[in-house]
């Protein structure tokens, strides 16, 4: 049972984190395509901002990696629940953070398309929603120490 819970947890961790990043980067990528009609010279900043919401997927992957080392068929239900909790925590935070970070970046990209020099400011503001994805990773790391 513990093993099953753990596998579900890992699935949620990587799946939702990656899903959030996929949606986020799609939102930003679409905005870049719109922006290119007005300012094709701004593809470089647009590409960098597009990749920003990709971070949450990487955090999910790192979390998976940390927990994978502990994965074993002999896990107790409590240990499996820790996997599940960490997966839920990271999956939810990274999913929402990825999507909304994508929206922040998309607005920045639109502003760049309208001639405003806001690349740096967008990078800084986009770090705010990501902070909560990082907190979830920290939470997952701390939960690992409980399991040990």
């Amino acid at each position: 049972m513990g093993y099953i819970l753990a596998l579900i947890g890992l699935g949620l961790m990587v799946g939702f984190a990656g899903g959030g990043s996929a949606i986020g980067t799609s939102i930003t990528g679409s905005s870049v395509l719109g922006m290119l009609r007005k300012r094709p010279d701004q593809f470089g900043p647009g590409m960098v901002l597009t990749a920003v919401p990709g971070t949450q997927g990487l955090y999910g992957f790192v979390g998976f990696f940390l927990y994978k080392a502990m994965l074993s068929p002999d896990l107790t239900i409590l240990q499996g629940a820790i996997f599940l909790g960490a997966g839920l925590m990271m999956g939810t935070a990274c999913f929402i953070s990825g999507i909304f970070q994508g929206k922040v970046c998309a607005n920045g990209i639109n502003a760049i398309g309208n001639g405003q020099d806001v690349f740096g400011k967008t990078m800084v503001l986009a770090a705010f929603p990501e902070f909560y994805a990082i907190l979830s990773l920290i939470g997952a790391i701390l939960l690992l120490s409980v399991m040990k």
Partner: protein, 652 residues
């Protein structure tokens, strides 16, 4: 490095204005501060602007069409017109271009007509007119298969014209006023017949060719026109700057301010001495907005476009280029982390560098080659080549390495290996340690910069973060805070965490407490000392969570490297799986070996392209967010663009 600037203040008699401005423009040493926009828009200014625009457009048009027209030339080029008067040339080129554009527009409309008429053949509009004379109407429709079959055709005279690609083209004949309700897309055909439209298209094509031939007559005179355009641009800039100068003493004197490179003071003084004007120069004050010019050595200059991508530093900040360039290079290498990919990228970039003529392409190719070289180094450290293990060593399964050399223990310090606890990935801890190093480095630079520019007191605030971070990490290691086992942290076989225990708990406690003390008392020196502890608490909150977030953000270096390595490894396994028999032996003489090569080529090309994008973007993010934040880099500087024959800078 930011080039040191000086500010020039100059008082000039109106009689010398024109001469001095021309000399300043030729010298291109001074960026002149202009009055607000709009003040310069005199009649002459507007006329010059128009002429500059017209000539630049004409040159750009000729340069754009010249290769295509010359390549398609079927008729001999007529001799160039005798008159090389730029204005005559301009008028003639503009009228020809206008005629070409009108012709192209008409051609596009006729081609659209031909597309519409073609499926209906030559009879369409003709039959329509004949039937109309007899009181009948003919209508043309287009409908998808399903829609057409759903139409009730009872009592309707319908003829299917074509049935292709799931679309049905049909016409319906109606008698007089009775209009049939047919739910399909009705097509309005043009008035002309197909042969008429084709004839018109051929005529227009001929006319366009003739116009192109007329345009060709001007090609040999393009250099003359280019020079004229440049002169117009230069005249316009001169008028713009001259008209924006601040007049005093009822227009008899002009007051000019501007910035110049401090090392250009001598040539500028020599120039000014030839006029009877008064000037003085001084260092800019800290509250002045000074234009910024970056000047770095050949290596760091390659990274200046990355600095500009975020923002130029303001004049009173540091140039972050040499500070982040080595880290950025190494980070990109770590993210790619593959000897094979790095070599391919470097070789391709070096070939591009050798073949390209454009300086921008050459410098881009050079930086890509350097980053590829960094990937080779990181690939050696990570023991990875095309996603496979490169060298053998302890903890590496026998026979899994590409080369039988047992160098992994000495060379591949970050490469994964197996021990009693399972797989060990030293790159993960290394990424966080690297982050700690870069953040600490940024804090040290920030502290030194603050002390250098604002004195010792200003250094207490930035150094407080440094002391608190090192103190806190030491305390966590000593007390095993939250069972994090920091003291047992290892990067591969190196006990990094144990090194933290070389300093005593008291020393770390002292650092953390003194850091906290500095933070609470020396933050925001412009505020009252009574308010500072409160603002300091807010800074402390931001620091605690920001610092942890910053450190963890560096994990992306490990994650990206691992992801691209695993993907590469998967492609290799799939490819060789095609020729591996049930006995585990690879049969290279199998016909499936062709597929192996194909999968290897396509798979690794795809992987290296994907990895390159991620490997470039994520180190950028670490530079712009984590590094710049800890460096307290704000940016926002405006580029130094001296008044010259080609450039001008407006500032208020």
């Amino acid at each position: 490095m930011i080039v040191k600037m000086k500010k020039l203040s100059l008082l000039l008699h109106h009689a010398e204005k024109s001469g001095l401005m021309k000399k300043l423009q030729e010298a291109g040493l001074l960026q002149i501060e202009l009055k607000e926009e709009g003040a310069t828009e005199t009649e002459r200014f507007k006329a010059l602007y128009l002429m500059k625009k017209r000539s630049a457009q004409a040159v750009a048009y000729l340069e754009k069409v010249m290769p295509a027209i010359s390549a398609n030339r079927t008729k001999p080029v007529l001799p160039s017109p005798a008159s090389s008067d730029p204005l005559t040339m301009l008028d003639s080129i503009e009228s020809t271009v206008k005629a070409i554009q009108e012709n192209e527009s008409a051609q596009s409309a006729v081609l659209s007509d031909i597309r519409l008429l073609t499926p209906w053949g030559e009879h369409g509009p003709v039959m329509q007119n004949q039937l109309a004379e007899k009181g009948c109407a003919i209508r043309f429709f287009e409908a998808p298969d399903k829609v057409f079959h759903a139409i009730d055709l009872t009592d309707k005279a319908v003829e299917v014209i074509s049935h292709e690609n799931g679309k049905v083209l049909f016409m319906a004949i109606e008698n007089g006023a009775v209009s049939l309700p047919i739910h399909a897309n009705e097509i309005k055909l043009p008035d002309s017949t197909l042969p008429q439209a084709q004839e018109r298209a051929a005529l227009l094509k001929q006319e366009t060719e003739s116009l192109h031939q007329r345009l060709q007559e001007w090609f040999p005179l393009l250099p003359t026109l280019s020079r004229f355009a440049e002169n117009q641009h230069s005249e316009f800039l001169l008028e713009q700057v001259s008209g924006s100068l601040q007049a005093t003493a009822e227009g008899r004197l002009y007051f000019i301010t501007g910035f110049f490179r401090a090392d250009h003071e001598k040539p500028l003084s020599e120039l000014l001495q030839t006029f009877s004007c008064y000037w003085e120069s001084h260092d800019p004050s800290p509250d002045e907005e000074v234009p910024v010019l970056l000047e770095n050595n050949a290596f760091f200059r390659l990274f200046e476009p990355i600095t500009r991508l975020f923002a130029l530093p303001s004049y009173h900040e540091m140039d972050p280029t040499p500070l982040f360039a080595p880290f950025f290079t190494f980070f990109v290498g770590l993210c790619l982390g593959d000897v094979g990919y790095g070599l391919i990228i470097s070789i391709a970039a070096l070939i591009a560098f050798k073949k390209a003529a454009s300086p921008i392409v050459r410098s881009t190719a050079l930086i890509v080659a350097i980053l590829g070289g960094s990937a080779v180094v990181a690939g050696l450290l990570l023991n990875s080549c095309f996603g496979s293990t490169l060298f053998a060593g302890s903890g590496i399964p026998e026979g899994s390495s590409l080369l039988p050399l047992a160098w992994a223990d000495h060379l591949c310090l970050l490469g994964p290996f197996q021990d009693a606890s399972g797989s060990v990935y030293p790159a993960m801890a290394f990424a966080v340690c690297l982050g700690f190093f870069q953040i600490t480095y940024a804090s040290v630079i920030r502290t030194l910069h603050a002390i250098r520019h604002n004195g010792w007191l200003a250094g207490f605030y930035p150094i407080s973060f440094l002391l608190m971070s090192i103190g806190a990490i030491g305390l966590i290691a000593h007390t095993n805070f939250l069972n994090l086992n920091l003291a047992e942290l290892k990067v591969g076989r190196f006990a990094v965490g144990a090194a933290l225990l070389h300093l005593s708990l008291t020393a770390y406690l002292g650092m953390a407490v003194s850091g906290l003390f500095f933070l609470l008392l020396f933050n925001h020196p412009e505020k009252s000392i009574l308010v500072r502890p409160l603002t300091g608490l807010w800074d402390l909150y931001n620091f605690i969570f920001g610092y942890i977030g910053d450190l963890l953000s560096y994990l992306r270096l490990f994650a990206l490297g691992l992801a691209s390595g695993l993907l590469g490894s998967a492609f290799t396994q799939i490819a060789f799986g095609m020729i591996t028999g049930p006995d585990g032996i690879r049969h290279f003489n199998s016909p499936l070996f062709l597929f192996t090569i194909l999968i290897l080529l396509v798979g690794h090309t795809l992987n290296v392209l994907l990895a390159m994008i991620g490997s470039f973007v994520h180190p950028l993010r670490l530079t712009f967010v984590e590094f710049y934040k800890n460096l307290n880099f704000q940016g926002g500087g405006k580029a130094f663009v001296p008044f010259s024959r080609t450039e001008n800078k407006s500032s208020h």
